[in-house]
């Protein structure tokens, strides 16, 4: 009994470590003081200032657009990769899919910067960000889809084939509906990764194009103001809602992550 109690205490301390800092951020987003040091009074001033900030809203719009497009493409390519890796013994593809997931992000960012500037002589912006986000998202989608396929009973597919269904028909009528939750989970994962990414975007964005994380970064670097708390709180609310939706539609999302 005593041991269980100790375990509870230790675990509780870790949970507190996880949540207290975020609670402070949320609390101070309502604090009526520019200095962010002590509690002065309640205000929603920082939120209204946020909603009037054109640059920030523009960056948020960019982030949303990039996340929608890149996660859609990454989901198609990642699903293909997941199916291929499950179905056939391949050598190159697993390496290509899994390495970007495991590498420190800075390496992918730097090599893409070199590639875009030195080889393609591309002007950095929307396109380079999209390509970079697709590159690092494919792996996550593929892993989730493959995990879903691995948990399924092969005999269903054999039965379908035995009954004379063409491979395409087997795919659309049986495989696809069965792995759909995995694909949805992969899509949501890719979306979250894209809208959240800072490191890789930092290298391939150039200067004219800004996303929300880049904007938050420069806000933190220039001056620490309660506006950052407000935008953080809003973003946390958004991700919470997304996760709520995701776990309702596709409980695999966070189970397959582990």
């Amino acid at each position: 009994m005593k041991r269980g109690f100790l375990l509870w205490c230790a675990a509780l301390a870790t949970y507190a470590f996880l949540y207290l800092p975020l609670a402070v951020v949320v609390l101070f987003s309502f604090n009526d003081s520019e200095l962010n040091a002590a509690w002065v009074g309640f205000t929603t001033h920082w939120y209204s200032r946020l909603l009037a900030d054109e640059v920030l809203l523009q960056a948020a719009g960019n982030s949303l657009l990039i996340a929608l497009v890149s996660s859609s493409i990454a989901t198609v390519l990642g699903t293909m990769a997941g199916i291929a890796m499950h179905r056939w013994r391949l050598r190159l593809l697993p390496f290509l899919v899994l390495t970007p997931v495991a590498m420190p992000e800075i390496l992918l960012g730097v090599s893409l910067l070199l590639f875009f500037r030195q080889v393609l002589d591309l002007t950095l912006g929307l396109f380079s960000i999209l390509v970079a986000h697709i590159t690092f998202s494919i792996g996550f989608v593929a892993i989730i889809v493959r995990a879903r396929l691995a948990g399924m009973d092969e005999s269903i597919f054999e039965a379908a084939r035995d009954l004379g269904a063409s491979p395409w028909r087997t795919f659309t009528r049986i495989t696809l509906p069965l792995i759909l939750p995995g694909i949805v989970a992969g899509y949501l994962m890719a979306f979250t990764l894209s809208i959240d990414d800072f490191v890789i975007t930092f290298f391939v964005a150039g200067v004219g194009m800004s996303t929300l994380p880049l904007q938050i970064y420069s806000m933190i670097k220039v001056a620490v103001t309660p506006e950052i708390n407000a935008i953080s709180t809003l973003l946390m609310g958004l991700t919470l809602t997304l996760i709520g939706l995701a776990s309702r539609f596709a409980p695999e999302l966070w189970r397959s992550k582990s």
Binding site: L113, F116, R117, L122, T123, L124, G125, S128, F203, G206, V207, G208, V222
Partner: protein, 351 residues
Amino acid sequence: MKGLALLLLMLCSLACAEDVLYLYNWNNYISEQTAARFEAWCRCKLKQDYYSDNEEMLAKLEAGATGYDLLVPTGNAVETLIRKKELRPIDPKQLPHFGNLHPAYRDAWYDSGNRYSVPYAYTVTLLGYNATRLKELGLPTDTWALIFEPAYLKKLKGKVTVLNSQRELMAAALLYLGHPAQDTDPLHWQAARDLILRAKPYWAAFSNSTYIKDLAIGNIWVAHGYSNDMFRAREDAKAAHRPFSVEFRIPKEGAVLAVDNFVIHKASRRPDLAHRFIDFMLSGENAADVSNLIGAGNPNQAALPHIRPEVAGETAIFPNAADRQRLSMLRDLEPAQRRLMSRIWTEIKVR
């Protein structure tokens, strides 16, 4: 139906094709009032992105930053940009106010004939200090020794900040050692590094902006920084009725002068607006703002009557002819020198 579509199109061309001028500028280098006045005057929008270092601006351009009409590089960066063929020649016919510029600031070594650049403002990198404290301690105020000599630093431990900029800090050390600021001799660089490493334990921090506040509050007694920032620290301390005063001086060993210029990027989509902006900023009244509100030195003669006397009379902001002899501008480094400088800088920070 067709008429409606046409009307919509016209409306759109009015509202959508809003005139926008993109400016890549230093932090806090054009006051909000000036920007707002320009927007009202040209009926267009001024959009700014900021950098805090020439090196940063050049690196970002190299890494593919585009879409800017105007940049505000310091002399050495102007030279680099010209050699890199990144700039669009200025059309003098579109700048009727060009004659307002003081002759001393025209025809600079980096752009003879002002083919690409128009000087906007200048700053001196110098020492700002808490005059009251230093008097109590009996320390000199006109020498780089203040931040490099352990004998002085012993009394100032933890009360000194230096710029977090490799070129500026190395220039100060080189000047103190009796070398020119733009020296590139590796042996002199090593001597400067050793001087810096010897003094580093006494410094509180490497800081590019927080020293303004810290000087004004009194946390810091000596800061290596830009004249316009020191000006602001002095104003802030005065406004807060601090029991001390903040002053700043050009050290007798010499200092770095940074002349910042407007240049038009070759890819600018609105060179017409860019020229209008430059000419707007050349008119005396508008040019005066950068001195009155930000405390920078002004190459514009027509601005002088509009500048507050306490700013215009400050020799550390407006150096006289004798002071100007002791000022020098930095030059851009070759790739191999950049590499060596970056390693020295890493050593300075980590050791």
